[in-house]
């Protein structure tokens, strides 16, 4: 489902100052897997995610997502790729002037889904994340955990094959995080491939899923049913 082969990504900082964000990364994620990407701040986790949505292009190496070679993907095909991917951010990125329902419906509206489908699918997803009774609330009326569940609902409403979550629990307290993780786990069980970047040792240790650890852009560990760190 996701395949990186010897991928290197550098960012230019000024004239001749370069940061190596990812160095010679080779990773293969099968359909339906649940993968944690861990590592210290600045180790390249977010860059890893951005390469998968083709927000960034690698300097070197090949990337395949949902059967598509991203290097040869025509720019006008990029939206089609992104419809196969749901994306969840640490800071939710909900639209403040829209209700919960509208925020979720927005994701379908802007890719031109018919209204009938939107009216059927949005309540289903709100039910899945347990926010049916908050459908008409605005984001500022919700707790952090509730907002993140809305954001997961929006990412998942189009039934993507892949769900990318960049520190989805980064702004949440531990007990709220558990709720979001249960949700991601449930989505994973529907067959979606989930990749989650995180700092949260407790979550990684309790879930016992595959762990890819990055350090200064290098993959230093790729372990099935892993824990956060060797010492953890």
């Amino acid at each position: 489902m996701i395949k990186l082969q010897n991928v290197t990504k550098t960012y230019k900082r000024g004239a001749d100052d370069e940061v190596i964000a990812l160095a010679d990364v080779t990773v293969d994620v099968a359909k339906g897997e649940f993968v944690f990407v861990v590592g210290p701040s600045g180790s390249g986790k977010s860059t890893f995610m951005k390469l998968l949505t083709r927000e960034q292009l690698p300097d070197d190496g090949e990337i395949y997502v949902a059967g598509k070679n991203l290097a040869t993907l025509r720019p006008w095909k990029v939206p089609v790729l992104r419809r196969e991917i749901g994306y969840v951010f640490q800071d939710f990125k909900l639209l403040a002037n829209k209700t919960v329902y509208e925020n979720v419906a927005f994701a379908l509206e802007v890719i031109g889904r018919p209204r009938r489908e939107i009216e059927k699918r949005v309540p289903e997803v709100l039910d899945l994340v347990g926010l049916t009774d908050k459908a008409n609330a605005h984001p500022h009326e919700l707790s952090g955990g509730q907002q993140q569940r809305v954001s997961v609902a929006r990412a998942f409403v189009n039934n993507p094959r892949i769900l990318l979550c960049d520190e989805p629990t980064g702004n949440l307290d531990p007990s709220t995080s558990v709720g979001v993780m249960k949700l991601l786990d449930r989505i994973n069980r529907t067959g979606a491939t989930v990749v989650m970047a995180t700092h949260d040792q407790h979550i990684v240790d309790s879930m016992r899923r595959r762990v890819i650890e990055l350090e200064s852009g290098h993959v230093v560990r790729d372990q099935s049913r892993g824990v956060y760190g060797y010492g953890g």
Binding site: P75, W76, P79, R83, Y87, K93, E109, V110, I111, R115
Partner: protein
């Protein structure tokens, strides 16, 4: 209407309303530039109309002697002159204008200027042959052949008079066009800037759209439509302004200057589509250019 079009149109109107001051500025700027553009187009129409009319009527006047400058033309000489003129193959038509005719034409042309009319009497203006040519450019053929005829006082290319008028109106028209073009560019820059501000204000929303896989045109269309709507409104306002003023002004002039045809509602109507095209076109182009870098994938 499908959900996708509802979205595009709703967003465009939200953008226009949220940014009301800028929208008003854009509309005003488009209005000013298109009104100028329309006015210069209509001036061209007016000039063409007058020119056609004028060149269609007379091209060469052959003034006849009446004893003041040269010995008065005899009736034999006059008959000979007419015959030779009619025989000349570049001549299309020959009219004889008597002193009486010339006086009447003058008095009707300057009907409201008493002092001018009082200064002349029936004998002041010379009689003439007025000659229309197959090709107005062949004036020299006539001048060469007939200026030495006995009884001919002077041969005047009427187009020369017209040309002076045309040179003047050309300067006015060109100046108006240049100012209109500069104004239009300024309007375009203003539109581009407004659209950029609008896109910046909604960068959160467009960021999410990109991420969930909205197509590029779908992300841009509300912004482009926002610019085009402002351009369209500006064009309509300028059309309305021209509609309300030009036929009035032309009608007033037509009462004073009876011998010249004037443009009217038909020409103002005809210029409208061009104004709409220019207004929406410039708005679309500047909006698209403004978004080219800003909203790239």
């Amino acid at each position: 209407m499908t959900a996708r079009w509802t979205y595009v149109i709703r967003e465009a109107f939200i953008g226009l309303r949220r940014n009301l001051m800028m929208t008003v500025a854009v509309i005003l700027s488009v209005t000013v530039s298109l009104t100028l553009l329309g006015a210069s187009l209509l001036l061209s129409e007016q000039v063409d109309l007058a020119t056609d009319d004028w060149t269609g009527r007379v091209e060469v006047s052959i003034y006849l002697c009446d004893d003041r400058v040269c010995p008065a033309i005899t009736s034999e000489q006059q008959e000979q002159l007419r015959e030779d003129l009619e025989a000349q193959e570049v001549v299309a038509e020959v009219f004889y204008e008597s002193k009486q005719d010339a006086f009447e034409r003058f008095t009707s042309m300057f009907a409201d200027q008493e002092s001018l009319i009082e200064a002349i009497d029936q004998d002041t203006l010379p009689a003439s042959f007025r000659v229309r040519l197959e090709n107005p450019n062949l004036f020299n053929v006539i001048a060469d052949q007939f200026s030495t005829y006995p009884g001919v006082e002077e041969i005047v290319d009427q187009r020369e008079v017209l040309n002076q008028f045309l040179r003047f109106t050309n300067v006015v028209r060109t100046a108006a066009l240049v100012v209109a073009a500069i104004q239009l560019v300024a309007a375009g820059v203003l539109i581009a800037n407004t659209i950029r501000v609008a896109a910046f204000a909604r960068r959160e929303q467009t960021g999410i759209m990109r991420l969930v896989g909205a197509s590029n045109w779908y992300i841009r269309l509300p912004f482009v439509l926002e610019g085009v709507l402002a351009g369209l409104i500006g064009a309509l306002v300028s059309w309305g302004l021209l509609w309300a003023t030009v036929p009035q002004v032309a009608g007033g002039l037509a009462q004073d200057i009876e011998l010249m045809p004037f443009i009217g509602e038909a020409q103002v109507l005809a210029v409208g589509p061009w104004l709409l095209l220019a207004g929406t076109g410039i708005a679309a182009v500047s909006s698209i250019l403004a978004l080219r870098r800003f909203l790239d994938i």
